[in-house]
Amino acid sequence: MAPQAASPVDDRLYQRLVDLLSAGRPDPGPGHTELRPAVEQALHHEARLLDDRCYRDWLERFTDDCVYWVPLDPDGDPRGQVSYLLDDRRRMEDRIGLLETGWAHAQEPPSRTCRIVSNTEAWPLDGGETLARCSTVVWEHRKDRLTPFASRNDYVFASLGDEWSIRFKIVRLVDSRGDVRKFSFVL
């Protein structure tokens, strides 16, 4: 058993997530084109790591105070509502650790995925962070079924370039209010 750091999640962090979701209203204007190549480099690299199921490498790209969040209500406050998942780094490690036990039946056989990342925009934030928004479709094939998971994603990058790292990843599934097929891979 590896010693684990305490969760960084507190009231301030939740408030930051809520503010991030509302940051698109009013319209912040077009993205900054000069940020786009570095953001796309990171997004495409992340997509490949996930499609290759290199989950440990993927996790390395997150900061210690990161959050990976799949909300149910695109306007919801996670303090008062349940999400599909809202993970800090500790629970992300659990999610990956679960797959590594070899007994996660829902991933036996594992999903094969192909994700398309598009409509990328980016804006600078204070403190050297970068806000990125994109549209993603994850095509999942497992057993006899091909299932699309379409979402609008929000990212806060702590850094860009070859050492890119993610602080927040928010996956807003377009059908999060509808009946979703179970998923146990990383979106």
Binding site: M1, A2, Q4, A6, S7, V9, D10, D11, Y14, V67, L72, D73, G76, P78, R79, G80, Q81, V82, S83, Y84, L85, L86, D87, D88, R90, R91, E93, D94, R95, G97, L98, L99, T101, G102, W103, A104, H105, A106, E108, R177, G178, D179, V180, R181, K182, F183, S184
Partner: protein, 437 residues
Amino acid sequence: MNALDALVQPDRVHRSIYTDADVFNAEMSKVFGGAWVYLAHESQVPDPNDFLASRMGLRPLIITRDSDGGLHALFNRCAHRASIVCQAECGSARRFQCSYHGWTYSNRGDLVNVPYPEGYPADFHKAGHGLAQVPRLGTYRGLIFGTLNLDAPSLAEWLGPAGPLIDGFVDRSPSGRIAVRNCQRMIYRGNWKLAWDNAGDGLHPTFAHRSFVILNERQHGGARSLSQFKASPDDTGMYGADLGNGHMFVDQRPGLHQSFWETQRPVPGREWYAAQIEQACGDDAADVLEVAPGSMINLSIFPNLLIKGNHFETVDPVSVAETRLHTWMVAAEGAPDEVNVLRMRIAEDFPSLGNPDDLELFERCQEGLAIAEVEWVDMSKGLGHDAEEVSADGVVRAPVTYEGPMRGYLRAWLELMSSDVKLTTAAAGEVTCEVAA
């Protein structure tokens, strides 16, 4: 469909109860109509004129609270040409107007306006053309149930020994009240009774949730969530019970070696929120924190409500081989906000890490059930075993891995399916609502 009795035998059930569309169609009236069906919780329609979309089997419903606070379960179906009249999941409305031809109803279900009223036959009266509704409603600790069967027993009788167990779940809240919040919606390709079998099944966690048990041991150590199922669960004192009328109970509490809070896997925010509670509540902090983790019980109210952990799971059949599972988050009213924030993260913990394995296994069962020549599903574990105890109220208790709760609910299912149930609907003003607790 023939000879239902032959399909449910003491030690086994026939595959066709999971695969036969005729059985499914009969269930949609005799069970999801003839029995008391869970519809919603009062906290979802707290104020006058609130409404919530729901279902009773395949029937779309609008649960409304009228301006005087009365509850109604209106069929979401225009009396004119059948279009559903309400598209929203929830909200506040005094009127529901059909978009197709403008017929307009009150939230009691009365038809209040028909456009261009001239031209209807002389004997056309608005009073006879309101929204049809569920004729019998009942509430128990805020849970709203309905039945189309005027001959069904009272709700209190129907719940029987399940009633005090609902009390136990609700009374974990300091105020004695709960609030149902939002829900995760999942769908699986399998019969609805596969979820029902699973809810009373204390044999499966050791195997179906092996990944979860191993993970917790590796990452967090000690006796964490579900570790009581790691080996020999029957030596822990955990038990399952057949409560009658199809209701089932699995009690994991005797398997715990420490408090709920200490047993709970760490979730996001655990440390900060616990520190806030410790600061605010002093010596009471341990008791306050004990409300955050799940209840450590599985209480199944036949035919469609599974109370697990801190949530309500509603089992909503779509077709013989497709089912919606909606997992509703339940907040503890009167507990500090910090407790309910922790409950949010806890309520998405097992559902996102453990439930996918259950759903996968339901789908694998449905695949196996396709083989017509291999007809039987075995449920014999514990049958006739002297470890089964029957209490004065008829509750049959047995070690947790025994399959008695499943056999019990299927006996109740068979009784309903074999009965000659007469279903009716009511018009506005003809509805009864009984308060069982």
